[in-house]
Amino acid sequence: MSDQARRVVVTGLGVVSNIGVGAEAFAESLRAGRTGTSPIASFDPAGFPVTMAGEVPGFDPAALVEHIEPARWGRSGQFAAAAARLAVRDAGIDPELLSRANAGSIMGTTGGESTVMQKLTEQWVRDGLPAIDPALAGQAPASQIATAVNSELRLTGEAQTVPTACSASNFAIGYGYDLVRTGEADFILAGGADSVNRATHAGFFQLGALAEDLCRPFDAERTGILTAEGGVALLLEPLTSAVGRGATIYAEVLGYGVNCDARHMVNPDAASIAECIRLAHEAAGIGPADVDYICAHGTGTPTNDATEIAAVRKVFGDEVPPISSIKSMIGHSMGAASGLGAVACCKALEQGFLPPTANLRRTDPALGPDLDCVPGRSRPARLDIVQNHGFAFGGNNAITIFGRVS
C-alpha cells in the first residue's frame, strides 16, 4: 500500500426513493420540489393519529436487480441492492471488472431490517416464539444490507454495514473514501437503506417528533418529521481509475468530519455540530467561504432545525450559504437520508442547481436574518463545493464535502 493518499471521486449514483427511482428521476423531482410522502400503505396505520409517511410506492426489486432473489432478503437489503445495481449501471463500469476487483460495500442504516423484525414480532405475538420462521430470522441482522449489495454485484471485498443511525450514509461515504484513498479498496459502493415500519413510526410519534401532514423544515410552523424509506449508493473510485476509463465524474470527495456529542442520546448539540463542520472543512482543506451550498440534515423538528442553523452560524457567521432540506420532499429516510443528500449534492454540482426546501411557507424568523433555505422550487446556480449534513441519535455527527473536479 502506498502512503500517498489517492484522490477519490464519485462516478455512479443509485437511488430508490419516493421521489424517483434512478438518480436522474430523483434529480428531476428535486428540481421541481416534488413531495413524495403519502398515506401509509405498508402496514395498517389504524389507531395512529399520524398516518403519513414517505414510503417508496410500488417498489419492485425484481425489476431492478440481476442476481439476488428478492424473497430471500429484507426490504432494506432489497433497497440497498437495487440502489447499488443502479449506481453501477449509472457508472457505466463493467460489472465483471467490478467483481474481479478489490471492491466492496459500506452501507449505513438506522433500523436495519426493521420490516423483517416486524414480521417476526407478529409471528411471536400470534403463535409464540417457538413458531418463528428461522429463514426470516436469518434475514434479520442489519449486516444483511451490505451483504445484499455484495451478493447482487458479486463483490468479494468487504461488506460492512454501519448502523450509526441517521447519519449512517455519510459515515459510510467517509469510511469508503478512507478505504479507497488508502488503497485498502479500489471501488466502494457507499450509501444506506432503511424501511418504513410500525415501531419506528410509533417511537417518533411518542417522542412528539412526527409532523401531521407535511414535513416543513425551517418553517415557522414546522412540527416534525415524516418517517420515510429508501436505498442509495454512490460508487467511489480513485480519480486516476475514473479518468483512465473515461468515466463521468460527478464530484470529488474532498473530505469529511465525524464526531460525537457525548451528551445526550436524542438532543442535538450546536457546539458539537459546529465542531464537526470545522473538522470536515479541515479535512477537505477548505474554509467556510468556499462552501456554495449546504444540504441540511433539516429534519423539520423545531429542535433540529434551530440547533443546526445555530451550529452553521457559529462557523459561517453572517455569510451562511444557501441551505435547504430535501427531507421536505422525501421525509426522513433515516440511514439512507444523508446518502440521498450526497446524491442531491452530486446532481446539484453536475447540473448547476440549488435543491429546494419544499413546503416552506414562511422561514422561521427565530432562525435569524438572511437565511436562504431555497423555498419551494430549485434555483439555477453554479456550485463548486457543497457540504452535506447528517446527524443522529447517539450524537453521531457526520458531514461530507464534495467538490467539482476541474
Binding site: 417476526l120 405475538v125 428461522p134 441482522p141 449486516s143 454495514t161 459515515f171 411518542q206 417522542l207 447517539g394
Partner: protein, 351 residues
C-alpha cells in the same frame, strides 16, 4: 498499515466481570423463562449502579449495561487520563438489542393503541445506542462508530479502528463487540440449525483500548498485544471448498501484510468450531494457509456462541493466556459466517 497496540481489556461475559473471571469456575447458570431446550451461557446478574452510579440509569437496557461496564473496566484498567475529544468508540453489533427492539415492536401490536410504546425506551432500539451511551457516560467525543457484519462483526470493528487511527480520526479507541442473549435470539439460533445441538447461546461484551503501537510504546503503556493485520472479504454462495479458499486467501494476505511467515503462527483462536458446516471451512482454510494445524483455543465452548462479539471473545481468550504467561508469540483469529462474510486477525504478543 501500522500495527495497533492493545493496551487494556474490559470483559463482561458468562464467566463474570473482568478478564480474570475466565480463570474462575463456571458460575451457576441463571434461569430465564421462555428459553428453548438448549444450554445458555448468560452474564451473571450485576448491578449497573455499582459500576457507573445510580443516576440516570433507569431507562438503559441490558445490552447497554454490558457495554458501559466493559468500557468502564477497559478504561480503568488502562489507567490513562486522556482527553475525551481524541478518544472514540468502535462497537460491533449486528442486530442491536433484539430484546429492546422486540419490546417496542410488540407494544405496537398488543397495547390498546399501536403508538403506546415507551418513548424513554425508544432510543435503545437504534443500533448505535450502546456506542452512543458509552460515549456519553465516559465523555468520549472522538469518532463513534457501530459496525455490523454478522459473525464477523468484531473483525469489522478492528478494520474500522485501523483506518480511523491511521487517518487520525482519533488517538485512542475503545474497540469491541457486544451481544445480548434473549428468548427471541435463543429461539432464532435454536431453530436455525446453524449451531450444534449442544452448543450454548452466549452473550457479553468485550472492549479493548487500542492506539498506534509506536504511540503506546512512547507513552510507556502496558501492551497486551499488537494487532498486525485485519483482512476481511465476502464470499457469495458456493461450496465449502471455495469458501475455505476465500478464507485461506485472506489469512495469507493478512500474514503477508503482518510480515509473519505461516510457520510462525503458534496458536489459532477458533470461531466456527460449533457451527455446522462452517467448522470444516475454518479448519480447511487454516490448514491451507498455514500448512499445518497449530494449537487451537475454543473460547465459545466456555462462553457460548456470542455472534457479533465472537471475534472479540476469540481475542480475549488469547489475551488471558498471554497475561498468564503463555509461551505463544503469534496468533491467528479467523472468522466466518453463513452470510458469506469472512476474515481474520493476526495478533502478536509483545516481546
Amino acid at each position: 498499515m501500522r500495527p495497533l497496540a492493545i493496551t487494556s481489556c474490559g470483559l463482561v461475559s458468562a464467566a463474570g466481570l473482568g478478564l480474570a473471571a475466565l480463570d474462575h469456575p463456571e458460575p451457576a447458570p441463571r434461569p430465564e423463562a421462555d428459553l428453548p431446550p438448549r444450554p445458555m451461557r448468560l452474564v451473571p446478574e450485576f448491578s449497573l449502579a455499582d459500576h457507573i452510579g445510580k443516576r440516570g440509569t433507569k431507562h438503559l437496557d441490558r445490552m447497554t449495561a454490558f457495554g458501559l461496564v466493559a468500557a468502564k473496566l477497559a478504561l480503568a484498567d488502562d489507567g490513562a487520563e486522556e482527553n475525551g475529544a481524541r478518544t472514540g468508540v468502535v462497537l460491533a453489533t449486528s442486530t442491536g438489542s433484539v430484546r429492546s427492539l422486540a419490546a417496542i415492536a410488540r407494544d405496537t401490536l398488543v397495547q390498546d393503541k399501536p403508538y403506546q410504546v415507551n418513548p424513554a425506551h425508544f432510543p435503545n432500539t437504534v443500533m448505535n445506542s450502546c456506542a452512543g451511551q458509552i460515549a456519553i457516560w465516559h465523555g468520549l467525543r472522538g469518532v463513534n462508530a457501530t459496525l455490523a457484519g454478522g459473525q464477523v462483526s468484531s473483525l469489522f470493528a478492528f478494520r474500522y479502528a485501523r483506518t480511523a487511527i491511521g487517518q487520525r480520526l482519533a488517538d485512542r479507541l475503545l474497540v469491541g463487540g457486544v451481544e445480548e442473549a434473549s428468548p427471541a435470539v435463543a429461539w432464532a439460533w435454536h431453530k436455525s440449525g446453524a449451531l450444534r445441538a449442544d452448543t450454548a447461546v452466549g452473550e457479553g461484551c468485550a472492549l479493548v483500548a487500542v492506539e498506534d503501537a509506536e504511540r503506546a510504546a512512547e507513552r510507556g503503556r502496558p501492551i497486551l498485544a499488537h494487532l498486525l493485520a485485519c483482512e476481511v472479504g465476502y464470499h457469495h454462495g458456493g461450496d465449502r471448498t471455495s469458501m475455505a479458499g476465500a478464507l485461506a486467501s485472506r489469512v495469507e494476505r493478512a500474514l503477508s501484510r503482518s510480515g509473519v511467515r505461516p510457520d510462525e503462527v503458534d496458536v489459532v483462536s477458533l470461531g466456527a468450531h460449533n457451527h455446522v458446516g462452517l467448522d470444516r471451512i475454518e479448519q480447511r482454510a487454516v490448514l491451507a494457509a498455514l500448512g499445518r494445524q497449530p494449537r487451537v483455543l475454543r473460547i465459545a465452548d466456555r462462553l457460548g456462541e456470542t455472534y457479533s462479539a465472537s471475534g472479540m471473545m476469540q481475542l480475549v481468550a488469547l489475551l488471558r493466556e498471554w497475561a498468564r504467561g503463555g509461551a505463544d508469540r503469534v496468533a491467528l483469529i479467523p472468522s466466518v459466517g453463513r452470510d458469506g462474510n469472512l476474515g481474520c486477525l493476526v495478533v502478536r504478543r509483545p516481546a
